[in-house]
C-alpha cells in the first residue's frame, strides 16, 4: 500500500504540490507563532522572578489576604534553620516590608520600604545588579537607602541626600527616621522603580522593632522546574498550619492567568489559518479521489477492502505531510532557536507597555522540542482528518458502480 501511495503521489503532481506547500506553510506558521508566544510569556515571567519575586515565598496565613502586623512571621530563624536542611533550596532570606512616606526637602512620596539582608539578596534577586548610581547596601550600611530611580527623580534627590521616613512599626507604634540615599537602582519595571526602596535589615529591625520578624521569607530553588517538589518538602518541614509556602505560580497567579488569556486569543487567531488550510487540503484530496473513483472501484472489485482504501489515502497524506515536515521542522526549529538566543528587539515597547509589567524591549522566542513536536502532531492530525470526507465519498459508491464511473 505504501509504494502504491507513493506512486499516486508522484502521478497526481498538482494535488501533491499544493498539499505539500500548504502543510509546509501551516507547520511553519504554527511552530514559529507558538514559539514567539511562549517565548515572550516566559521572558515576562522570568524578568518578574529575577527582579524581586521569589520562586517560593513563605507567609503567615492571612498575611496576603488580610494583612496587618499580627500576621507577620514571628520566629523567622526557626523557619530559616529548617530551610537550610532542604536539598533543593539554593538561598533564602527573610524580608520585612512596610509602606510609609518618604520626604526630601521639598517633596514627599509614598514608598514601599523593604528591610533586606544585602549579601543574601545578591543571590536571590537582581536588585544589586540593577545599581545605576552610588552603591548597593552591605551589612554595615546603617541608615543607607537604596532607591528606585523614578522615586529618586520624584523626590529630587542626589546621592548622600537625606530623606525622612514616617511609617508604622511592627508593634503598631509610630516610626520615623532620617535615611541617607546611598544607591539608586533601575530594574526597568516602571512600578517597582517608582515605588520601592531598600534598607539593611539589621538597621531597619531596630527602627521597626522587627528583630526575627518577617513579612515573608523568600526562597530561591536550584532548579526552577523542580519548584513544586521543593515546595512540598518545605511545607512538610515547616509542619505549621499557620504558615503557607507558595510557589511563583500562585504568587504571580494574575500574570500567569493573563498569559493564558493571551494564549487563548493567539490560538483563536491561529485556528483561522489552520481551518482554512485544512479545508483547502481536504478539497484537493476530494478532487483527487473524485477523479479516481473508477480506479477505486476496480481496486474494490479485485478484492481490496475498505480498510485498505483508507490505508492508501492515509499513506498518501502521511507521506505528503512528512515530506513537508522534513523541510519545515528543521527550518522552523532553526528560526526558534536563533531568536531564542538573539531576541527580536522592538525599541520603545517596554516604555509603551510599562503599565503591563513589560520591562524589556527584547522579545525572545522559546526553543522547546516538546512544543515543536506537539505542534507538528496537531498538523498531522488535521491533515489526517482531511481524508475522512473523501474516504466517505468513495465508499458511497458500490464497487461495480464505481468501476463503471465516468
Amino acid at each position: 500500500m505504501f509504494s502504491f501511495a507513493l506512486k499516486n503521489i508522484l502521478f497526481y503532481k498538482g494535488r501533491s504540490i499544493t498539499t505539500f506547500i500548504l502543510t509546509f506553510v501551516s507547520a511553519m506558521l504554527f511552530v514559529v507563532f507558538v514559539s514567539w508566544q511562549d517565548g515572550s510569556h516566559n521572558s515576562m515571567l522570568e524578568n518578574s522572578l529575577k527582579i524581586y519575586t521569589g520562586a517560593i515565598e513563605i507567609y503567615h496565613k492571612e498575611y496576603r489576604d488580610v494583612g496587618g502586623n499580627e500576621y507577620l512571621i514571628r520566629d523567622a530563624k526557626t523557619i530559616t534553620d529548617k530551610l537550610s536542611r532542604i536539598s533543593g533550596v539554593e538561598a533564602f532570606s527573610p524580608r520585612y516590608e512596610t509602606y510609609g512616606l518618604l520626604s526630601s526637602k521639598d517633596y514627599s512620596s509614598a514608598s514601599m520600604i523593604a528591610g533586606i539582608e544585602p549579601n543574601k539578596e545578591k543571590l536571590l534577586s537582581s536588585i544589586a545588579l540593577s545599581l545605576r548610581d552610588g552603591k548597593f547596601l552591605d551589612e554595615n550600611s546603617g541608615n543607607c537607602l537604596y532607591m528606585g530611580d523614578k522615586l529618586v527623580k520624584k523626590l529630587r534627590l542626589s546621592i548622600d541626600d537625606e530623606v525622612s521616613f514616617v511609617g508604622g512599626a511592627s508593634d503598631d507604634s509610630f516610626a520615623a527616621d532620617i535615611f541617607k540615599l546611598c544607591g539608586i537602582f533601575k530594574t526597568g519595571s516602571f512600578e517597582f522603580d517608582s515605588t520601592v526602596s531598600f534598607v539593611n535589615r539589621s538597621y531597619f529591625d531596630e527602627l521597626m522593632y522587627a528583630a526575627n520578624k518577617a513579612s515573608y521569607i523568600t526562597v530561591k530553588v536550584k532548579d526552577l522546574d523542580d519548584v513544586d517538589r521543593v515546595n512540598s518538602e518545605i511545607t512538610k518541614a515547616l509542619n505549621d498550619e499557620n504558615l503557607e509556602s507558595l510557589t511563583w505560580k500562585s504568587l504571580m497567579k494574575t500574570m500567569v492567568e493573563a498569559m493564558e488569556v493571551d494564549n487563548v486569543f493567539g490560538y483563536i487567531s491561529l485556528s483561522l489559518f489552520l481551518v482554512v488550510i485544512f479545508f483547502v487540503i481536504m478539497i484537493y484530496g476530494f478532487i483527487n479521489v473524485s477523479s479516481r473513483i473508477k480506479e477505486f472501484g476496480v481496486l474494490r472489485c479485485i478484492g481490496l477492502s475498505r480498510q485498505k482504501i483508507f490505508s492508501l489515502l492515509f499513506y498518501e497524506i502521511f507521506i505528503l505531510s512528512s515530506a513537508a515536515f522534513i523541510i519545515a521542522v528543521p527550518l522552523a526549529s532553526y528560526i526558534c532557536y536563533y531568536y531564542s538566543i538573539n531576541p527580536i528587539v522592538i525599541d520603545g515597547i517596554a516604555e509603551m507597555y510599562k503599565d503591563y509589567g513589560i520591562v524589556s524591549d527584547e522579545i525572545p522566542f522559546d526553543f522547546n522540542m516538546w512544543t515543536i513536536s506537539w505542534n507538528i502532531g496537531v498538523i498531522y492530525l488535521l491533515n489526517s482528518l482531511s481524508i475522512l470526507y473523501p474516504y466517505v465519498y468513495i465508499n458511497s459508491f458500490e464497487p461495480i458502480e464505481a468501476s463503471r464511473h465516468v
Binding site: 496587618g68 497567579k253 492567568e257 485556528s271
Partner: protein, 403 residues
C-alpha cells in the same frame, strides 16, 4: 446570449454538487471566523478607547506645562474654572470637567498601597462620561467623606463597601496631610491606571484638604470629537499643555495600528488560501470538461462566451460562499456584540490588563464590503490560468483526444 451563458454557468456550477459545496463551506467558514475575530478584537480596542475617554482624558485634555512630567499639584492650571467656561462656549464642545489629582499613600488599618486621589464633581462627570456606569459595587456617593475606589486598588487593600481609609499626601504648603475616607462604591473603568491606583472624592473637599485654590485644577477634560477644536484649543492656550486622546495614550494608538496590520495580514493570508482552494476546483472542473469546450469552440461558439461562462461559474461559487459567510459571520458578530465572549474564569487577569471579563464585539459595515471585494477578486483571479488553457485549445485535437 448572456442569459444562456448564465444558465449554463449555473448548471455547471452544480454539476458536481459535493465539490462546489465544499468550496462554498470553505469560503463561508473562513469568512465568518475572520469576521468574528475582527469584530472581537475591534470591540476590545473600541471599548478600551471609549472607557478611557469617559473615565479619564476625554477627547482632549489640558494640563499645566510640566504637570504630566512632575505630577505635582504645584503645576495646577490657575483659574481653570474660567477656562472651562470659555471652552464650553466653543463649537463642537459636548462636555467639560475639571479634576484635581494628587499622589500619596492609601492605608487601611492593615494594608497600605500607593494611590492617586482624584477630586471630581459627580454631576459633571455623569454628563461627561456617565460615571455611574462604571459602578461595580455599592453606590456612587461622596456624602460624609464618602469615596469611590478602583477595583484593583480595592483588591490590593482588601477593602469593601463601608471600609475606612486614610489617604496621606503632601499638601500645597509642602506639609504631610492625611484625610479619612469611607468607601461607598467600587468602580471598574477598565482604564488600567485608574482601576489599580485611583480613589475618587469630591473636588471641593479635596481642594480644602490640599489647600489649593478652589478655581484651580490639575486637568481640564473635554468631550468633543473635532480636529478643529483641538487646533483652536492649542492656539488659544499656548501656555498650557493641550493634548488629544491619542497623544496622551500612545499605547492605544499603537494598539490600533497593530490591529490594522494584524487584520490586513490575516485577511491577505486567508484570501490567498481561499484563492488556492477556488483555483483548484475551477481548474479541475475545466479539465473535466475540456472536450466539451473543444466541441463548443468547434461548432463556432466564440471564446469570449466561454470565458464569460467560466468567470460566472467562479463568481457564483464566490457569491454563495460570501452569502453563507456573511450570514454566519453576522450571527456570530451579533452574538458577540450582545452577549460577548465570557472569559470570567480569567477575570483577574483581564481586569489587571484593563479589559472586562466579558469581551464584546463590534459590527462594522466595512467588514462585509471589504470581504465581498476580496472574495469576488479571489474568485475572478482564480480562473485566469484555467482560461488561458482554454484559449490555447485546438478544438479538433481536443475532440479527437481520449478522455
Amino acid at each position: 446570449m448572456y442569459k444562456l451563458i448564465l444558465k449554463m454557468a449555473w448548471k455547471n456550477t452544480f454539476t458536481r454538487p459535493a465539490r462546489t459545496l465544499l468550496v462554498i463551506i470553505m469560503i463561508a467558514v473562513s469568512m465568518s471566523m475572520m469576521l468574528a475575530i475582527q469584530g472581537l478584537y475591534d470591540g476590545m480596542v473600541k471599548s478600551m478607547i471609549e472607557k478611557n475617554k469617559r473615565s479619564a482624558s476625554g477627547d482632549i485634555s489640558i494640563y499645566a506645562k510640566d504637570y504630566r512630567l512632575e505630577k505635582d499639584i504645584k503645576y495646577s492650571i490657575k483659574d481653570a474654572a474660567k477656562i472651562k467656561e470659555d471652552i464650553q462656549k466653543l463649537d463642537g464642545v459636548k462636555a467639560v470637567v475639571l479634576r484635581v489629582m494628587a499622589d500619596g499613600l492609601l492605608s487601611t488599618a492593615r494594608k497600605s498601597s500607593f494611590a492617586s486621589i482624584h477630586g471630581i464633581d459627580l454631576k459633571e462627570e455623569e454628563r461627561f462620561g456617565s460615571f455611574s456606569e462604571f459602578l461595580k459595587e455599592g453606590k456612587i456617593s461622596f456624602k460624609k467623606r464618602g469615596s469611590v475606589i478602583g477595583i484593583e486598588l480595592a483588591k490590593t487593600l482588601k477593602v469593601r463597601i463601608g471600609s475606612k481609609l486614610i489617604f496621606s499626601t503632601q499638601d500645597s504648603s509642602g506639609e504631610i496631610n492625611s484625610i479619612a475616607l469611607k468607601v461607598r462604591g467600587i468602580i471598574q473603568t477598565t482604564n488600567i491606571v485608574l482601576d489599580s491606583n485611583a480613589i475618587f472624592m469630591d473636588i471641593t473637599s479635596l481642594h480644602k484638604f490640599l489647600g489649593t485654590p478652589p478655581r484651580d485644577a490639575t486637568q481640564i477634560a473635554i468631550m468633543g470629537e473635532n480636529q478643529k477644536l483641538l487646533h483652536i484649543l492649542k492656539s488659544n492656550y499656548q501656555n498650557l499643555d493641550v493634548k488629544s486622546f491619542l497623544e496622551l495614550q500612545p499605547m492605544i494608538k499603537q494598539m490600533q495600528e497593530m490591529m490594522v496590520i494584524f487584520n490586513s495580514i490575516t485577511f491577505l493570508i486567508v484570501m490567498s488560501v481561499v484563492f488556492i482552494g477556488i483555483f483548484g476546483v475551477v481548474y479541475v472542473s475545466i479539465l473535466d470538461r475540456i472536450r466539451e469546450f473543444g466541441i463548443v469552440l468547434g461548432i463556432g461558439m466564440q471564446y469570449k462566451y466561454i470565458r464569460a461562462q467560466i468567470f460566472l461559474e467562479s463568481v457564483i461559487v464566490g457569491v454563495f460562499g460570501y452569502v453563507g459567510g456573511a450570514l454566519l459571520g453576522l450571527i456570530l458578530l451579533i452574538y458577540l456584540r450582545d452577549y460577548g465572549l465570557d472569559l470570567s474564569s480569567f477575570s483577574d487577569a483581564l481586569e489587571m490588563w484593563g479589559y472586562e471579563a466579558v469581551i464584546k464585539g463590534t459590527i462594522k459595515v466595512s467588514y462585509f464590503t471589504t470581504t465581498f471585494g476580496a472574495i469576488i477578486s479571489a474568485s475572478v483571479l482564480s480562473v485566469l490560468i484555467p482560461i488561458r488553457k482554454i484559449k490555447k485549445l485546438n478544438p479538433i485535437e481536443v475532440i479527437r483526444a481520449e478522455k
